[in-house]
Amino acid sequence: MKALRFRSFIHLRWEPIATFILVVASVSMLSTATATILQGFYRCFRGYLGGGEGIIALYDMGSSTPFTGLVSSRIADYLASIDGVLAFSMEILAPCIVYGEPMIARGVYLDDFLKLTGIDIIDGCIPSSDDLRYALIGFRAASRLRVEPGVKLLVLGVLSDRYVEVKVEAVYRSDTALDDEIIVPIHVGRWIRGVGDGSVTLFRVKIDESKLSLGKLTEELSSRIDVEDKPPHSGSLEPPKHPTPIYGYIPTTSGLIGVSTIERYMERYMEPYGLTGWSITLLSVSTVIFASLTIVAAFRMMIERHRAELTIFRFLGLSRRDLKIGILLKLTPCILLSSLIGFASGLALVEVLEFYGLLRILSYTVSAGFYPATLPVSIASTMLLAILSIAWSDAA
């Protein structure tokens, strides 16, 4: 093949090459940073309640945010009587302000909570059961507020006119969105949320999947709630328009109770804003398309700067196709190098943004980790753009 033989004769000057590398690296950085931030955002909120096999959430289907729904705490009695329920935790999520920072306080029964949630205590210790005003604080929140065990905090209610003074007993780490929250006793959570003893935001239920499925749990709960809580005209309550097999619902006097997997709980709140897995992926990839013309312009610049040399090769008998292949082969190491530089600088940029606390939504830090799939996708998309630019160019 002539292109391979002539490849060593094609000499590209360093200045246009450096500019080309700069362009490809910056586009690669843009796509890496976008993909990393968006994937981090999606994973952060999808995994908001923590992962785990066989964990199901029960929540208020009428609420428009994950923090404002309320379900009856009597469900705890029904859950306790169902065979196959291994453990459950009733939790109340209360928006609050601490040291002027908006946060979410999570009211829990600590023993039940710890059965379902893995947290590592990195400073301090788990409070005793008779401690009525303890607070456990996630390491990110602790670092932001500069608090440590022993420090007293004034927690101001946002949805209620209540305030509570709590004492930080421990700082924990869970590597989930919990790291930006404060865990408090359930009664404190209820005060801050402004609700009585009969309400909680959600239940997390761990089931034995060999005995119980999501559908079976919904049926069992529904039959128990039927006896006491179901409204006399339950037909008037409209079921969701598009029920899918991954969640169920139970009509009660106070509204529909949603029953779904733990991931589905947050997806339900994100979907109305178009934040689905595929839309996030599409948006990540689209940055490359948005920046594609910049790469095309860079390639045209390369050709313009080498027009004289390329014309000589044409005179020497090299076909347009061979010339394009030769240039592509010559540029491939540069594209790979610049993609790697761009990938590394994209990750570095995200780290810097995270360090300065700029990647926070609803007071939760979007932990933009390293997602291995981003690297090959970034390199492949840049290569594809380079090939298209070369194919489209007037190299001859």
């Binding site: 006119d161 402004g194 178009g274 839309s279 313009e304």
Partner: protein
């Protein structure tokens, strides 16, 4: 001369490519910001549902149990007209409440007027409100843990001092007072505590809370702080600001690419127009005219690109939201862009475009000086 140069540059074949490449890059932040605006608009609507007046606290320091207030603060607040009802209190931690052989650490709240305090926090009482200095109210949850009932005799100990008291009633407030012992400030004096640590109050309905708070912070001592509950507006404002910061942080790399894109377009211009620029110089064009023409070219292409990008971004995101809505009716995105955000994005785009072309403008200037153009 300027129009000649402008026509010469704009007629170059690559100009359309540069305008489109800038447009696509600007479309990205425009689309992102307009999507995030729908969330910010939603956040902005929330306060109306909940902002119905909260409880305000005045104290020194970060928590009530560590605060000791200047007596002048209470007098100032009593004279402050917009305050509807207030209660001054002294918080004492680590007291011991004993009944028979059961002793526990409790928190004591001594208030200047028990009735006013109960009214302020909307507290119900099972039993009666204390009248004498040796009577106390015990929070319902605390009482249930002993258990205690109205009429029980208890002993309160703080350090080396102790006092015998009678439980006049049980307080039911859905607040931290459910785990506290509430008594008159006279009892605090018997236990050796003087002065107040916290003032709690509510404003009269209909007052402009924000302006009153700023006036209040002006007249109170510098080390005294005011805290407010049910400040939904403040909460949503901060969350909205975080969202805006997140979006602007996310689009930072776009501006880096835009800078590089502008760098290339100006580079191509300098090299592609070298003959024309030499001709202009031969015709008597001054160096400053040529340099300004390059700046004008870059600014013009970036302005045109930004305007096209604005249209592409807004149209694209509207179309995408409609398609998403058709595919899934639960999706209700209403992208919007306010003038402020549009101005900021366009201004930054033009600024970074000029910044990106600066090396070549300077280089072009040098070449003109050297006479190589």
């Amino acid at each position: 001369m300027y129009s000649l140069i402008a026509r010469m540059m704009l007629r170059r074949g690559e100009t359309l490519l540069y305008i489109l490449s800038i447009a696509l890059l600007v479309a990205l932040p425009i689309a992102t910001v307009s999507i995030s605006n729908s969330l910010r608009v939603y956040l902005g609507r929330i306060p109306g549902k909940f902002d119905v007046g909260g409880l305000y606290l005045v104290m020194r320091g970060g928590v009530p149990s560590d605060s000791i207030l200047d007596p002048g603060v209470i007098d100032t607040l009593r004279r402050f007209d917009p305050i509807e009802c207030m209660s001054a209190g002294r918080i004492v931690d680590d007291a011991i409440l004993s009944i028979y052989d059961e002793s526990r650490m409790v928190r004591l709240r001594f208030v200047d007027d028990v009735r006013s305090y109960l009214k302020l926090i909307g507290c119900r009482v099972d039993g009666r409100i204390p009248v004498y200095s040796c009577e106390v109210l015990v929070g319902l949850s605390l009482a249930e843990s002993y258990p205690l009932k109205p009429g029980d005799a208890v002993k309160l100990t703080v350090g080396s001092l102790s006092i015998d008291a009678t439980v006049a009633g049980l307080a039911i407030s859905r607040s931290q007072s459910d785990y506290e012992v509430i008594a008159s400030i006279d009892m605090a004096k018997l236990l050796g505590f003087y002065g107040f640590s916290i003032v709690e109050f509510r404003f009269k309905p209909g007052v402009d809370v924000d302006s009153i708070l700023s006036e209040l912070s002006r007249i109170l001592p510098v080390d005294t702080r005011i805290y407010g509950t049910r400040r939904v507006m403040g909460f949503t404002y901060t969350v909205g600001r975080q969202l805006a910061e997140f979006v602007y942080a996310w689009i930072t790399p776009v501006y880096l690419v835009l800078t590089v894109s502008s760098y290339i377009s100006s580079m191509n211009l300098i090299y592609g127009c070298s003959y024309e620029l030499s001709m202009l110089k031969a015709l008597g064009a001054r160096r400053i005219v040529v340099a300004l023409s390059i700046v004008a070219y870059v600014a013009l292409t970036s302005i045109l690109g930004s305007i096209v990008g604005l249209s592409i971004g807004l149209t694209g995101v509207q179309v995408a939201s409609k398609i998403l809505g058709w595919m899934d009716p639960s999706v209700s995105l209403t992208p919007s862009l306010d003038v402020y955000d549009a101005t900021v994005i366009l201004s930054i785009s033009i600024a970074v475009s000029i910044l990106g072309s600066t090396p070549h403008i300077l280089r072009g200037w040098d070449r003109i000086v050297e006479g190589s153009i």
